[in-house]
Assembly symmetry: C2
Homo-oligomer: 493 residues x 2
């Protein structure tokens, strides 16, 4: 069989066992086929996996993980592959476990506002099925038309509306999980509160390092009576940022407050003709939802606040088409930047809302220093920045400069009291930044949990943590000396 | 020194070291003094500790835990001691680490709506200090005038308003924690989302088994513009329960929906003359908060829903005094039951909201079968029952019958799709029920985490889990065989 011949020698025996367990048609070892899976949405890191398994049932997942555990071969789970931090980057000579065929969905339980789904189900399908009952699934990443719920759980995905509705972790009630040794456990459940440890919270956002979810019970939210969207134009970033703080300080919690700066507006306008206020240096897209009376009363207040901050235009969408156009400008911004720059890096950082103006000014200064442009698109309500660092990969050294600037922006987020990721995860890309944000003791504590779940280090190794930990002897009281660091271990790859 | 002489021989050396580390005046070994700490709010289990340490600083906590770890002596952390599941029950010959002197509070940070507190701070003090800024700390257990934030964190405390505002876990942003080996780590932080594992969520509600918090960063919520409270009387429990479901199904999320049955009403009326509707078989106390316009519109809707379910009286509190009286009836119910029964057990279970009528009918049937009375007081909105099983301890065998009935009620909660605790924790009392609610695999997964944090099993041993686990070799794939159970280990006590 040519397929087997082309697999790395080390995984040939495992591939044969996998074929026997899950069926030969679900195991790929042909190099051309394997290359399809060499990266996720972060295409600047690529690794060809040793074997790909296309699971179609929980049992396939259990069998694959158990065989990997027995062989001591690493595995990486993957959903739709839309992640932006390299969390689903394969391990060379490892197994890539593709879950996108696990797509059982529902039925929706309207009385209890919940639904059980398999991990390969697409985010937007959940809301589609819930809509007839006036229910919706709240987390709405920009990729919601293609990203999978399993991937959302791995990265604790957010979206434009997480200011009011929270992240994925707030919308998953329970999970069936295959642990790295192949055993199946249940985390969480449908009761509002559970005894024992809340391991579901630790599992969500663990980026595939603690196990593989095979079934998820999702919480649905009621569709609000009214949803209204307002577009506000400003002549300065400071005024826009100040408006965001003033709205929250007034006790108003919008469903979303999105902000775009001049460069992002320019790109969106060129791409989708969204009709944003001409000459705006910054715009806010503000969405309020709730009972009609409340939305109307609050929009009057929001408008006053914006005008007091020198907004030069406020516009409430008069119908669904106008509302859709306002959102189209915002949601297309990432792709639109491709029209004004040959290439760009998307970054994902968090800062305290109150520091928006200072941090944006500093990003401008840093960008000017290296002669690059940065477009800023962000979930302003919760301080989640997505700076887009523009560069031309045809100009020698510019990609490297851009990567360095992107990294420096993250360190600026940390030094401003924020975090290196709001919703895209640490993955492969940002693992070294973890050591900037956390003390060795704090990272070591997370590794204790990783080692408890995965002592052999086979579940998505090389992700999240800056240095792999040997899961043998537990270190003694960790006061200054850190065996993990002392070992000076190199990269997994 | 007589004090030393009266300490158990095994802890004398440790007590001497503790005195040296934290100061002799903070270490108690006199038997009469030790007895003060022999139980928490669940007084039917009592154990005298070997040593009590009255910590006054983080360093005292670190020193105490480190000395315990070195000596292999168990420790139990304790706040105000108001817990209802025996979570702070001491270990004989162990150390009881009292945190109630760690009371540094604030200052409140109004811009970011947060405050940093030490674990001994009393729950209500946080809201007291936040009130000048129109902010409040949302979790409000009935014991909020005396219970400590550290204890709230250990048990993931709730309260009447957790239907809308969530539990303690939703209001703690970060924690400084002393792990069982004496090292200090930071879990969570102030950014809305964090990279790495969410160990803060696992720590909150871990009942002192993973470490001791020495500092907590709390999230404050804005005080709503309007708060209104309505009292509704029904002739049947089914109608009251149906009203609860209908309100939620209509998309209204009250701040609180509390329910009391006839026996609880009778007790409250006798104790505090709260003027509940005469002849009511069940009452609901419904509180709405938010913008004035929303509260008014929603109360009209709630009233319609209640009338459609045959409510015979609806009454909106006209002023603060009337509102306080409505709440006084509800909040005094536990104590009031003491007026109509010599003794009672408070139980804490959770069921799906939709099953309230069936479960209440079954509790009645079970109570009648053994000739006991059960008064029901509960957070109806989220299905959190507090059945009070009344008995006379002067009648031989009745306490045992009542205990058995209380246990059977919990099993009924589980078989109805619920949980053995909503907010009081598992503690010592309900550890055996964990094996009813969870599979051995699920419990084993929690124990993996416990062993990762506390391999020697010295942090509050004998709580939460039905059988202690030996933290040595990790079991292989757990498919049917459970080393923990196979070992047949007995009780710690």
């Amino acid at each position: 069989m040519t397929a087997v011949a082309s697999a790395p020698a080390g995984t040939a025996v495992l591939a044969a066992r996998l074929r026997q367990a899950v069926g030969a048609e679900r195991v790929l070892t042909d190099h051309a086929q394997l290359r399809t899976y060499e990266c996720d949405g972060l295409a600047n890191f690529r690794v060809t996996p040793g074997v790909v398994v296309l699971a179609e049932s929980r049992q396939h997942v259990v069998d694959t993980v158990r065989l990997c555990a027995e062989a001591g071969v690493p595995f990486v789970a993957r959903g739709s592959g839309t992640g932006l931090s390299g969390g689903a980057l394969p391990v060379a000579e490892g197994v890539l476990l593709v879950l996108s065929r696990l797509r059982a969905l529902g039925p929706v339980d309207p009385d209890n506002a919940r639904v059980v789904v398999e991990p390969g189900v697409i985010n937007l399908w959940v809301t589609r099925d819930a809509t007839p009952y006036d229910l919706a699934y709240a987390p709405d990443p920009s990729s919601q038309q293609v990203c999978s719920i399993g991937g959302n759980v791995a990265e604790n995905a957010g979206g434009a509306h997480c200011l009011k509705y929270g992240f994925t972790v707030n919308h998953v009630l329970g999970a069936e999980v295959v642990l790295p040794d192949g055993s199946v456990v249940h985390l969480g459940g449908t009761a509002p509160e559970h005894p024992g440890y809340d391991l579901l919270g630790a599992f969500i956002g663990s980026e595939g390092t603690l196990g593989v979810a095979t079934s998820l019970t999702l919480r649905l939210v009621r569709v609000p009576e009214a949803v209204q969207t307002m577009l506000v134009g400003f002549s300065s970033v400071e005024d826009a940022a100040g408006t965001v703080s003033d709205i929250i300080a007034a006790g108003i919690l919008p469903a979303a407050i999105e902000m775009m700066d001049a460069l992002a507006i320019e790109a969106a306008e060129a791409a989708v003709h969204c009709g944003y206020p001409a000459g705006a240096v910054a715009v806010l897209v503000i969405e309020l939802d709730g009972p009609q009376v409340e939305v109307e009363a609050q929009f009057a207040q929001v408008e006053q606040i914006a005008l007091a901050r020198a907004a030069f235009e406020t516009r409430i969408a008069q119908d669904a088409a106008e509302r859709a156009l306002m959102w189209k400008g915002r949601k297309s911004a990432f792709a639109a930047v491709g029209r004004i720059s040959p290439a760009y890096f998307v970054q994902d950082g968090v800062i305290p809302r109150t520091k928006l103006p200072q941090v944006l000014a500093e990003i401008d200064r840093m960008a000017a220093e290296v002669g690059l442009r940065v477009a800023n698109v962000f979930h302003a309500g919760d301080g989640n920045l997505h700076p887009l660092v523009l560069f031309d990969d045809a100009v020698e050294g510019q990609a490297a400069d851009a990567e360095e600037l992107a990294g420096a922006i993250l360190e600026l987020c940390i030094s401003s009291g924020g975090s290196i990721t709001g919703e895209h995860g640490v993955g492969f890309e940002k693992r070294h930044k973890m050591a900037v944000q956390f003390t060795p003791e704090d990272l070591d504590t997370m590794q204790l949990v990783r080692c408890a779940f995965d002592p052999e280090g086979i579940a998505n190794p090389g992700k999240v943590f800056p240095t792999p930990r040997l899961c043998g002897e537990r270190p003694g009281p960790r006061t200054g000396e850190h065996p993990v660091q002392a070992a000076g271990l190199g990269e997994v790859f």
